[in-house]
C-alpha cells in the first residue's frame, strides 16, 4: 500500500512531515510511478475500438477540449484567424462574401457517418486517457501498417473519404491520442451491444458464438415469486417466519391442533417394518425410521426448545423458509388495505383512476421473458467471472486499479472481430491515494519509486536540500527504469551459448609508410 511506502520514506528522511509534507511525498511517489511506466514502456495492454469511432465530447471551439474528462473531437474548423468556427466548407466562402459552392455533409461524431453522406473530415479514433504509445494496430485481427499523411496524400486524392477494408493507419491530422485509418468502414460494427448499460455491469450474453460462463451465486433469476408483503414476511424467515401455532405428533392430530399453522414435529414412515408392517409409523426421532435401537439427539416440539438442547425437525434459527431470491410480481394498491393487483389497470382501478393503461403479458419467473412476459426482471446480483470459447479468448484487461484487480466485475465488453484492436503502452493519469496499491508494476519495483521520491525530496530547494543524495537516488531510479524495460523486452530472446571461434581473427602487419620525400627510383 502507498501509505506503507511513504512511512518508509519518512523514516529515511528523519522527518515526520515537518520539512516534507506527506502530501508532497505522495505526489512525488505518484510522479515516480508514472515516470517508471512512461520511460520503461513495460506495461502493454490491449484495447478494442468499435467502428466507426466515437468521442466523449464533440467540440465546436478549441478551448472546449480543455474541459471535461474524456476524449474530444473538434468537428469544426477555424475561420478568420480562429475568430469563427465553421462546420461546412461552404461557410468559409460565405463569411468572406464569396458565393458558396456545394460541400459535403458535416457530422459531429465519426459514428454519425453511418447516417451521413460524404464527409470532408477525418475518420478518426480516440485513444483512451491512459494511452502512452501505440505498439500495434489491427483491423479484424490483421495488422495495419503505419503510414504518414504525406504518403496518403500522394497516394490518392480524397483518401479520407475512400471506403473499403482498412489497410493502414496514420497519426492523422487530429489531436494527440487519436489516429486515423485508410480505407474507412462507415457501416456500424459494434462488437458487443451493452443493453441497458445504465443499469450496471453486463450480466447475460447472447450471440452466435460458443462460449461458457461462470456466474456468482445466487443466480440472477428469481427462485420463487410472491404476491403480497405478507408473503414476503412469511417466507423470508425471522422475525416474520412461520411460527407454529401448535405442535402435533400424528397427521391425524392436525384437525385438532390450534391456530393456522400447526407444525408436525415427528417423522412419518409409510410402513413400520418391525411392529406393524401393514401400518404407518410415526417417530419422534429420525433414527427411529427403519433403525430403532440407537440413542440419538433429543428432539423438541417447539423452536424455543433449542435453548434447552433440543434439535427440531425443520427449524434452523434465522434460516429463510425458501432459498434463493424471491420477486413480487404484483403491484400494491396505494392504500395497502385495498390489496394488490397483477395488471397495471387493476392497480389504477383500485386507486380510483378513471382512465386505464393497457397491461403487458405478466410473468412470475425471469425465464418467462422468453415466452413474452414483459414485466419480469433481472436482479442486480451475480456477475460473470469468466467466459471461454474454443475460437477465441475472452481476456480480462485491467488498467490500473487496486490490488483486487482480477476479483472485480467486467465493466465493458469489446471485441477485436470486425473492429480496430490496438496494443498500447499505458500510463494511468489518475492521482494515487495512500490507500491504493498500484498494480501495473510488481511490488518489488516499489523500491525504485522510493528512490524517485528521495531524489525529488533531496533535490527540492530549502531545508533538507542535498544535491549529492538527489543525484544518487536519481541514478538508482533510472536503473529501475532500465530494469523494467528489460523485463518486457528480454522475454522474446532465448539464451543460446556458442563456443568461441578460435583463430578467425587474422592479423596483418601495418602497411609501410614511406616519407613524402622518398626519392623516386629510376630504373
Amino acid at each position: 500500500m502507498v501509505s506503507d511506502e511513504l512511512t518508509k520514506i519518512q523514516k529515511k528522511l528523519h522527518d515526520n512531515a515537518a520539512i516534507w509534507s506527506r502530501v508532497e511525498l505522495l505526489r512525488w511517489w505518484g510522479d515516480g510511478y508514472r515516470q517508471l511506466l512512461a520511460l520503461s514502456k513495460a506495461v502493454v495492454r490491449f484495447w478494442n475500438l468499435d467502428v466507426p469511432g466515437g468521442f466523449t465530447f464533440a467540440d465546436t471551439h478549441q478551448w472546449e477540449a480543455n474541459y471535461g474528462s474524456g476524449t474530444h473531437n473538434r468537428f469544426s474548423l477555424a475561420i478568420q484567424s480562429g475568430n469563427l468556427s465553421g462546420t461546412y466548407l461552404w461557410e468559409t466562402e460565405f463569411i468572406e462574401g464569396i458565393i458558396p459552392t456545394n460541400s459535403n455533409d458535416a457530422v459531429t461524431q465519426p459514428w454519425e457517418r453511418v447516417h451521413s453522406g460524404e464527409w470532408d473530415g477525418q475518420f478518426r479514433f480516440a485513444l483512451p486517457r491512459d494511452h502512452e504509445q501505440l505498439r500495434r494496430v489491427a483491423w479484424d485481427e490483421r495488422r495495419l501498417h503505419p503510414v504518414t499523411v504525406k504518403e496518403l496524400d500522394s497516394l490518392e486524392p480524397g483518401w479520407n473519404r475512400r471506403k473499403g477494408e482498412p489497410v493502414v493507419f496514420t497519426a492523422g491530422l487530429g489531436r494527440i491520442d487519436s489516429f486515423e485509418i485508410f480505407t474507412i468502414r462507415t457501416d456500424h460494427i459494434q462488437g458487443y451491444e451493452l443493453d441497458e448499460a445504465e443499469k450496471g455491469i453486463p450480466r447475460r450474453f447472447t450471440g452466435d458464438r460458443t462460449y461458457g460462463q461462470s456466474l456468482a451465486q445466487p443466480p440472477p433469476e428469481n427462485a420463487y415469486a410472491y404476491t403480497s408483503t405478507g408473503d414476503a414476511e412469511a417466507i423470508t424467515g425471522p422475525p416474520y417466519d412461520f411460527a407454529p401455532t401448535d405442535a402435533y405428533s400424528n397427521p391425524q392430530d392436525v384437525l385438532h391442533a390450534a391456530g393456522a399453522t400447526p407444525w408436525q414435529f415427528t417423522w412419518d414412515d409409510a410402513t413400520d417394518t418391525q411392529d406393524a408392517p401393514d401400518q404407518g409409523f410415526t417417530a419422534t426421532h429420525p433414527w427411529m425410521i427403519n433403525n430403532r435401537g440407537a440413542s440419538e439427539d433429543m428432539y423438541g416440539t417447539h423452536p424455543f426448545e433449542h435453548e434447552y438442547g433440543a434439535a427440531t425437525k425443520v427449524y434452523a434459527d434465522g434460516k429463510p423458509v425458501l432459498d434463493g431470491i424471491g420477486w413480487r410480481f404484483t403491484k400494491a394498491a396505494a392504500v395497502l388495505d385495498d390489496g394488490f393487483a397483477t395488471h397495471i389497470w387493476e392497480k389504477e382501478m383500485q386507486d380510483g383512476a378513471t382512465a386505464f393503461t393497457d397491461s403487458v403479458d405478466i410473468g412470475t419467473y425471469s425465464w418467462e421473458a422468453e415466452f413474452g412476459a414483459a414485466n419480469v426482471v433481472n436482479f442486480p446480483v451475480g456477475v460473470v467471472r469468466g467466459a471461454s470459447s474454443p475460437d477465441r479468448q475472452y481476456m480480462p484487461i485491467y488498467l490500473g486499479a487496486t490490488k483486487e484487480r482480477l476479483l472485480g466485475a467486467p465493466r465493458d465488453w469489446r471485441s477485436s472481430k470486425q473492429n480496430i484492436s490496438i496494443l498500447q503502452t499505458i500510463v494511468p493519469d489518475n492521482d494515487l491515494t495512500e490507500s491504493e496499491t498500484p498494480d501495473l508494476i510488481p511490488t518489488q519495483m516499489f523500491k525504485y519509486l522510493r528512490y524517485y521520491t528521495w531524489s525529488r525530496a533531496f533535490g527540492r530547494q530549502g531545508e533538507g536540500h542535498n544535491l549529492i543524495l538527489a543525484a544518487h537516488y536519481e541514478r538508482r531510479f533510472k536503473q529501475g527504469v532500465m530494469l523494467f524495460n528489460k523485463l518486457s523486452a528480454l522475454t522474446h530472446r532465448d539464451v543460446v551459448y556458442a563456443r568461441e571461434s578460435v583463430g578467425i581473427t587474422s592479423r596483418r602487419p601495418p602497411r609501410p609508410k614511406l616519407p613524402a620525400a622518398f626519392p623516386r627510383v629510376d630504373i
Binding site: R142, S389, P390, Q393
Partner: protein, 220 residues
C-alpha cells in the same frame, strides 16, 4: 548465513547492538536485507523457479502474475504433455507468418512477449487440456524466520551485508562512506553474475551474435 546472522553483521558494522539495536529497528534492517536480495536477484538473475499452468480452450494470452506472484521474467515455456519447448517469436514475426494468426488453433509451438506481465502462445489450443510449464527468473521471497537460510551463496550474502551497511550509513547522513560502501557492493555483482552461470567467460564460451544474453543491463 541466516537472516539473523546477516542482520547481526549489518548492525555490528554500524556500531549498534545486534540484540537490541538503538538506531534501527529489526524490521527496518530486515526490509533492507530484502531490498538487497531483490537487487541482487534482478542483476544476477540467479533465482529460478518453475510453475505450471493448464492450457485453456481458445486462450492465447496469459498474465504472468496469475501464474506466480514472484515472477520476474519467464525464460522457458514447455508443454509437458508433448515434451515440447516453445520457440520464441515476436508478434511482428507472427504477423509476417499469417495475416490472422490469432484465429489459428492447434497445439502450441511458439510463445511471444506482449508486456512485462503478459505473454502469448501460438497457436492457441482449441480444447482445454495439457499443462504448460513456465520456467522463470524470480524475485526472492522475504525470509519468514530469523533462522531461515538465505538462498544466495555466501559471497552474495556478504554483498547483502555491504548493502545493509550502505543503507545504514545513509540514514546516518554519512554520505561519503555510504557511497564508498555502495561501490563495494557493486563490485560483487559481476562476480555473482559469473557464479550464476549466466556469463561463462571462464569456460571460453560466448553467446552467439544473434542472441542477447540475459542481463538487465543495469550497471549499479
Amino acid at each position: 548465513m541466516t537472516k539473523s546472522e546477516v542482520r547481526t553483521r549489518i548492525l555490528e558494522s554500524l556500531n549498534d547492538s545486534a540484540s537490541s539495536p538503538v538506531f534501527w529497528s529489526t524490521s527496518e534492517i530486515d526490509d533492507v536485507i530484502q531490498e538487497g536480495q531483490e537487487l541482487l536477484a534482478e542483476e544476477l538473475a540467479i533465482i529460478k523457479r518453475s510453475a505450471l499452468v493448464p492450457l485453456r480452450e481458445g486462450a492465447t494470452y496469459y498474465y504472468t502474475q496469475g501464474i506466480a506472484s514472484d515472477i520476474m521474467v519467464p525464460y522457458r515455456l514447455f508443454l509437458t504433455d508433448l515434451d515440447r519447448r516453445l520457440d520464441v517469436l515476436t508478434m511482428r514475426q507472427l504477423d509476417e507468418r499469417h495475416e490472422t494468426w490469432i484465429t489459428i488453433s492447434g497445439d502450441p509451438w511458439h510463445w511471444f512477449p506482449v508486456s512485462w506481465d503478459i505473454f502469448g502462445i501460438f497457436p492457441h489450443p482449441a480444447a482445454a487440456g495439457g499443462v504448460l510449464r513456465v520456467d522463470y527468473i524470480a524475485w526472492p521471497p522475504a525470509p519468514q524466520d530469523d533462522g531461515e537460510e538465505l538462498e544466495f551463496s555466501e559471497p552474495e550474502q556478504d554483498a547483502l551485508v555491504l548493502y545493509g551497511v550502505y543503507d545504514g550509513l545513509l540514514k546516518q547522513w554519512d554520505i561519503e562512506r555510504a557511497l564508498k560502501t555502495f561501490a563495494l557492493f557493486l563490485e560483487r555483482v559481476p562476480l555473482g553474475r559469473a557464479r550464476a552461470n549466466v556469463e561463462l567467460q571462464a569456460a571460453k564460451l560466448e553467446r552467439s551474435s544473434h542472441h542477447q544474453p540475459f542481463r538487465t543491463g543495469v550497471n549499479i
